[in-house]
C-alpha cells in the first residue's frame, strides 16, 4: 500500500507486517467465498456476519495506516496525512460523480466496497507528487 522510499523505521516495519496480515485475511476470506464456502448461508444475520468478516481486514488495514501516522516522526506523519487526505477527497469525488451518474445517467452500478481499492488507486496517483509536508 504505502511506499515511503527506503524507510526502515520500526513504525514502517510494523505497518508492513500489519498490512500483510490483514491482506492475507482478506484474500483468504474472498478465495473461500469464490470457491463457494459461504454459498449455503441463508439467514440475513449470517450474511451480515460474513459481510463484516470480509470488511474486518479492510478496516484493519485502514487502522494500520492511521497507526503508521501515529507512530511515525512528524515529517512522515505530515506527508502521509497529506497524501491520505488528498486521496480521500479524490476518491469521494470520483465516487460521487459515479453515484450521481447511476442516479441520473444510467451508469452501470458499482458496489460501494469499490471505494477502498479506489482510495488506494487515488493514493498511488497522488503520492509521487506529495513529498513535502508544507
Amino acid at each position: 500500500m504505502l511506499a515511503l522510499g527506503k524507510s526502515t523505521s520500526s513504525a514502517h516495519k510494523r505497518y508492513v507486517v500489519r498490512t500483510i496480515a490483514f491482506m492475507s485475511g482478506y484474500v483468504a476470506i474472498n478465495v473461500a467465498a469464490i470457491f463457494g464456502a459461504f454459498d449455503d448461508i441463508a439467514s440475513p444475520v449470517a450474511a451480515w456476519v460474513l459481510a463484516l468478516a470480509v470488511s474486518a481486514p479492510v478496516i484493519g488495514q485502514i487502522w494500520a495506516t492511521l497507526a503508521l501516522m501515529r507512530e511515525s516522526d512528524e515529517f512522515v506523519r505530515a506527508v502521509v496525512a497529506k497524501q491520505f487526505i488528498l486521496a480521500s477527497g479524490l476518491a469521494m469525488a470520483v465516487a460521487s460523480v459515479w453515484g450521481f451518474g447511476e442516479s441520473y445517467a444510467d451508469a452501470p452500478h458499482i458496489p460501494a466496497w469499490i471505494i477502498y481499492p479506489l482510495f488506494w488507486a487515488c493514493f498511488g496517483l497522488i503520492a509521487p507528487f506529495v513529498k513535502s509536508s508544507s
Partner: protein
Amino acid sequence: MKNRLKLLRVERGWTQEQLGQALGVSRQAVNALETEKHDPSLDLAYRIAVLFARPVEEIFDNPHA
C-alpha cells in the same frame, strides 16, 4: 525554511541517519529538513538547537524577521 542543518551535520562528520537517531526522527525527516521540504515543529527545532548547542535562529532563518 532556510537552515544551516546540513552544514552543522557535515562539520561533525555525521550522516543523516546518525543525526536522525540523535534527534529521534527518521533519515527522511533529516533529509526533508535539509532540503527545506519540512518546517520543523517548535519541539523538534528546540531539540536540534540543544543538540548543536546553538540558538534556534542560528540554525533556522526566521522567515518573519
